[in-house]
Amino acid sequence: MTTSRRQFLTHSTAVLASTVAAAEALAQGAGGLTASGLVGRLEGSEVVTDPARMPRTFKEAPELAQLVQQGRLPPVAQRLPEEPLVLKPLNEVGRYGGTWRRGFVGPGDGENGNRINASDKLIFWDYTGARIIPSIAKSVVMSDDGKVTRVTLRKGMKWSDGAPFTADDFEFWFEDIYSNRNIVPTGIADLSPGGRPGRIVKIDEVTVEFQFENPYFLLMDMLAGDTLIGGGMSVGMYQQRSFGCYAPKHYLKQFLPKYSSEEQVNARARAEGFEGWLRMLHNKKDWNLNPELPVLGPWRTVRPINTPTWVLERNPFYYTVDTDGNQLPYINQIVMTLAEDLEVLNLRAMAGQYDMQERHIDLAKLPVILENRDRGNYDLHLDLAYNGSDTTIHFNMSYTADAEIAKWINNVDFRRALSLGIDRNQMNETFWLGLGTPGSTCPAESMPQNPGPEWRAKWSTLDVAQANRMLDAIGLTRKDSEGFRLRTDNGQRLRFQVQTVRAFLPWPQQLEMVAQHWRRIGIFAEVREMERVLAFTRTNNNEHHMHVWTNGGTELLYLFPRHAIPVDPVEAFMGPEFAKWYASNGSLGREPTDAGLKRIFELFRSAAGQRDEQRNNTAKEIWKILVDNVYSIGTVGQSPALMGVRLASRRMGNIPSRACIAQHCRTPGSSRPETFYYKS
């Protein structure tokens, strides 16, 4: 068994044994909502691994066939790798052509396109979000001890400009981009398991090895997930980032001092209007911005994102075909128009001006969206997320500025009482139109790291009497004339500040509702709506009592832990001091004294070197501690609120009735946009 598990990606047989059952369960997760007809069955394109079903001859889009005839493009068989990835489209083999119209909100919205182009990763999650499938890598094999992982590429694969894609591109990224301290100032944790930096080494033209000193069994998930190392080039190298694990050497080397001289690249930068070579590089390596940059994904940019219309065009060298041997993608072009305002974007979507849009669609507009389905000629699908809580109230466990406040925040019964004081059903009905699932922060029951169904309701149901008893028992007995509990040090009203930002959901309004609930248990909460940067600055400075954010991404704890555990100083709502302590290996910040948190840190640290099953058990253990200690209050989750309200034109085919919308699925990436097509 162990052998097959280690070799699970050899020649496209990518199945994560421990999560197959979960994948089946995922499909059934919708519950009563299924009755509405809006939540469908989890479905999508399958990777074909059976050699007998592999196509032998290949076909291409008419536009490309014309170019081939004119001699401006090599024939399709030469453009594809020797063993292309074969996808069996969801419903049927599609037809070529058409323009996919979408909306985007500005130059910062690069993820809008990155996620469509997400198949430029080494390995990827399939439509269930629970199985890993090969992508640009033909196979990924890990050694017994977990220290060496060998990646085999597809022989003959090419960049979108026709240049060969080889192990050199990995070596180039590792040696000349990632290891250049001007570009990447310090190494990333993704490549340093146990704090020891690893290496990426070229073995031959099509073979690359990831080598580490410590066992790194998590690497497979990291490569498939939306992480710095595994994101693929679209997201890894966009904006000011320089990650992923490969880069087009033949194109990018002209912008690096190493391949000419610093004066030469600086002179070129100034001639093109950049301050220096680094600024130029950040521009040239971003596929959102630079139409010349070779890519591996299904589409490439022809009009950059910093114009009113961001336009993508098919990549004639894309490495994937359907079961009939048609080179994907089916759709010629993606045109995204800039909407200055989300209201405009939503209105345009309802007017049928977008062909498929899940990003920036507002759940609160659901009734109007439904009403306009026929006028706009679209179908509506609700995709449910797997994270436990869209609105999560994080306690700042490292707060010290006010000793009395800090004392109560650090009291577990206080936190539990506050959680018991919230009427989640009312919140769900009001803000989620009843589409969410009330409960704690832990991920959906169908996820491999869910600690068990009993943890959904743990400390997370309305029980005002019990909450009051608990608050009385810990010594908060005195109340003022309005019924609010008093501080024990100076007899003033005990006031908690809840920091909210208007971001994905109307958090300020939601928390006003929570504050009303808390009146009944005598707790006074002052809900403060802040500008986002101010809120983040205060959080970094350890100034907040409680901060409201989503816990999205925590459905796979190790790939995106920071909305559940304070381990990343960039976003450490639950204790910025502890996150600094953890991230700096103890040289900065403060060590937590809370026994639960100490245990969580210990468990989390040990996980990277554990094998899949053991690692998932560790995650379950962590979730139990998190939920039992209520470091964060979960309210309503597993909802379509974030990217789960999907409008799809009725003219489009191969659209899944339900898609996985999780961080690691790169919504809509794992629904395989390259298989979408226009029926007419």
Partner: protein, 329 residues
């Protein structure tokens, strides 16, 4: 006269310098900088920015230096005609503003023509036919126009046109023309999209100008020279148009001062609501993301335009009103 011009010019330059310092300082006032905003944006879209990355970004954009050094660098570049690179749009500021500036001027001029075209005749009519049914009707409509915030109007009109006309919601071009090169068809498409934003933009200003015109003209109509003119048998139309209307035009001339900056940023909220590709939304966005170079350039541009506008409005006033001209001699 010449000393007047020189004094004015020197004062204008001094004012522009103060504007540049003030705008830079004010933009720096909110907590955090572009990198903080960038981090929070990234986290909103589920991406990570490490602390080390943030530090290298600050160095990349020179945000780790003291404000006065940053200002010094910025202003010296501007003096050489280089407005720097927008951090958010990642292209030179002049390219970011480029096209948008022309669309803004286009919409604002269209709005201005609508404003004047409506306000002048209605104002005159209301004054000459004071307390008539028409005067009351226009007064009522005028006050409604003043009282209703125009972004609300924009939202309502946009919804109605979406609901009943199926018209393109927002924007200056239909989807099929957005990418097309310039052609007559594209120009016609633009012309079709212009009335909605320009009328909405014009409404508030129109109501205001009608009231001003009406009040001024009423003052003038009671003057003895009007009575004299009538007594001498001048046709009524001539009596009104030749002198009182000209005298009442002064407020129009002095609005020129505010016209110039308005041309650039007057339509901020409407533009955001209607998703017009103008400078207004750009300014708001750059302020939110603390994109120093872009925000600084736009604010500076507004300051400079206000100064120039004031200068020109002085000249225009001198030209339309002989009383001012002769006072100076």
């Amino acid at each position: 006269m010449i000393s007047f011009f020189v004094r004015r010019l020197l004062l204008a330059i001094l004012t522009m310098w103060v504007v540049s310092v003030l705008s830079y300082v004010i933009i720096q006032l909110p907590p955090g900088d572009f990198v903080d905003t960038y981090i929070s944006q990234q986290s909103a879209s589920g991406s990570t920015v490490s602390a080390a990355e943030a530090q290298s970004l600050r160095e990349l954009y020179g945000l780790d230096q003291p404000v006065w050094i940053q200002y010094g660098k910025w202003i010296t570049r501007i003096l050489t005609g280089d407005f720097g690179e927008s951090m958010e749009w990642r292209q030179p500021v002049k390219d970011v503003i480029g096209d948008r500036l022309w669309f803004t001027v286009l919409i604002s001029v269209a709005a201005l023509l609508v404003t004047w075209g409506l306000a002048l005749p209605i104002g005159i009519y209301s004054a000459v036919r004071q307390y008539s049914f028409g005067d009351y009707a226009f007064t009522l409509i005028g006050f409604v126009g003043l009282a209703v915030p125009n972004f609300l109007l924009a939202l309502i009109i946009m919804y109605l046109s979406f609901r009943y006309l199926g018209a393109n919601a927002g924007g200056l071009f239909s989807a099929e023309f957005e990418l097309a090169p310039w052609s007559w068809a594209k120009l016609w498409d633009l012309i079709k999209h212009l009335p909605l934003p320009s009328v909405i933009l014009a409404l508030g200003g129109t109501a205001q100008l009608i009231r001003i015109m009406r009040a001024n003209l009423l003052d003038e109509l009671r003057r003895p020279y009007v009575v004299t003119a009538r007594a001498k048998g001048l046709p009524e139309r001539w009596v009104v148009l030749k002198y009182p209307v000209r005298a009442a035009l002064n407020p129009f001339a002095s609005t020129v001062a505010y016209l110039f900056p308005y041309l650039v940023s007057g339509s901020v909220i409407i533009s955001i609501v209607l998703s017009l590709p103008t400078v207004g939304p750009l300014l708001v966005r750059s302020l939110i993301s603390q994109d120093m170079f872009l925000a600084g350039t736009i604010v500076l541009l507004l300051g400079v335009l206000t100064v120039i506008g004031t200068f020109i409005s002085d000249l225009v006033l001198m030209w339309v009103d002989p009383r001012i001209r002769h006072q100076m001699d």
